[in-house]
Symmetry: C2
Subunit: 310 residues, 2 copies
């Protein structure tokens, strides 16, 4: 019998209780699973999410792993009391949803759909868009989410460049890396997708300089982290007519404040942090797989590297 | 030396001349290619399009094939003077463009993008759409275009049902056929894509009865033929709240007249016949491949069956 403390917030417990109990049963694990904790020293595993129920992890002396329900861990990785192994969520349901958001909005910008959705003058202009094969797309970040999106974009015909901090190779993708590869990756890109983790190195990676490298009229898609973009530089590039549009799912402050200039800007579409939603059914199976691995002495999946910060 | 008469309209000649000459040269075919015809009895091949330069095909006594630049042949198949073999266009560029339009608008409706694109009240509502795997899509028509779209929709995760006049089988697709299979194919569909040819049997195939079978809130995508839908029934189903939206690329009269109710209806998006655009570079290679086949005595590709009408 192991003790599993669901510390990811009381609001999430109703949607997670049943799928977690089912995943534990399917894995043959007998566990005391609860959203309450009477004795931290008896807890074997913590299921966590940013804004969850723990700020000091010190009393959890027996805890074998902290299992995060979100892909991003930047809000907890700096907690010095968290010395237990920390695992990110790589949820196949979340990945599928992210691919759908990125593919859908890429095709929306590629096909210039908005001029048909918003067409108050009823203009019939049969100018045909180019084929996807003629529309270069660049994905910044080739982690699990970035790679899945890059692969899906390639499959529908876009020529895709992927950029990552360290050198990577993936068949069918043009892979560039490091600070010197960034300018090359962005130059000429007509759609740019941001799927980098938030680290000191990636903050404001799209700024006045780097926004100048993309093709005139390019669309920026940010389902990653709000801090990846210099908001002022983005607005300036849109107002100058250099960028065509930006569709943003993540922001420095969420919900996006009502007085934020992004809301009313005609060149910006706000989506309310829906691209990367963890799905309880699939995420519960990932959490339980890591518990089973730890119990069997096997390596944990998606372990966070504290030095890199993700 | 063969004689090829480009009778697809003077407006198209400038964009087709160079790619046709290049494709003929690559195939090693020596041809007199011209948009003018001094002696019909000397013409070996006619490149044609609806609205083109010939209404009476009788004088073209030596013509071995009429090569249509469009996928649809309903405007010429009834011409009784056209006794020469008639080939439809199956252009890989046109197919790619159609797949992009269908995939893009399917994802748009799936993700309910319009409520973010059109959000004047700046509402932050992080309700997450379901995954594509939970969104049934039905494609009516499993010809070259319908099958390509069905396959692409399946590849991004949608469960896809395909319906065709005659029985077909394709791995990964639920295939239904015939009049009795139509109700089953439409029942519960949340996105319906129309890619049938225009024939007497397919006219108004979406009518008051069949629109009643789809799921409440469903989206209709018509990149096929305007005549496939009973316009009045479509408006009634939208106004009754049974349908969620219709995105239409084809109409009974084109350009869509300014006083047509589709333009101003909030539940309808009009796109100006851009989904199925023949691309000169790829289409020219298809035309020339058929000329090469005819010269070699090989069977023609995409030969129209006059009895079926496509």
């Amino acid at each position: 019998m192991i003790t599993v403390y669901f510390a990811a917030g009381a609001a999430r417990w109703p949607s997670y209780e049943a799928p977690l109990r089912q995943a534990l049963a399917e894995a043959g694990i007998t566990a005391a699973l609860s959203p309450d904790c009477t004795d931290p020293a008896q807890v074997d595993y913590i299921i966590f999410a940013p804004g969850g129920d723990i700020s000091d992890f010190t009393p959890f002396t027996r805890c074998k792993a902290v299992l995060n329900l979100w892909a991003g861990v930047e809000k907890i990785v700096g907690n010095t009391s968290l010395t237990q192994p920390l695992c990110r969520m790589v949820d196949p349901g979340l990945t599928a949803g992210m691919v759908e958001w990125v593919l859908g909005h890429s095709l929306r910008h590629h096909l210039r759909m908005d001029r048909h959705i918003l067409n108050p003058a009823h203009i019939w202009d049969p100018t045909c868009p180019p084929l996807a094969a003629e529309r270069p797309v660049t994905v910044l970040g080739l982690g699990a989410l970035g790679l899945a999106c890059a692969t899906a974009l390639r499959a529908v015909g876009f020529p895709v460049t992927g950029w990552s901090r360290s050198e990577k190779h993936h068949p069918g993708l043009r892979c560039l890396s490091g600070p010197q590869g960034l300018q090359q990756a962005l130059t000429g890109a007509e759609i740019v997708v941001l799927l980098l983790p938030k680290t000191p190195e990636t903050e404001n990676i799209l700024n006045a300089d780097s926004l100048g490298w993309v093709a005139k009229g390019a669309a920026i898609l940010n389902p990653g982290r709000g801090d990846l973009i210099d908001d002022t530089a983005l607005l300036a590039a849109l107002d100058a007519g250099h960028l065509g549009h930006a569709t943003l799912d993540v922001f420095r402050t969420e919900p996006l404040p009502q007085d934020h200039p992004f809301w009313a800007h005609p060149g910006i579409t706000v989506t309310p942090h829906i691209a990367a939603e963890t799905r309880p059914a699939t995420a519960s199976r990932v959490v339980v797989e890591n518990i089973a691995r730890a119990e069997a002495g096997a390596p944990l999946l998606h372990l966070v590297d504290r030095a890199r910060g993700y």
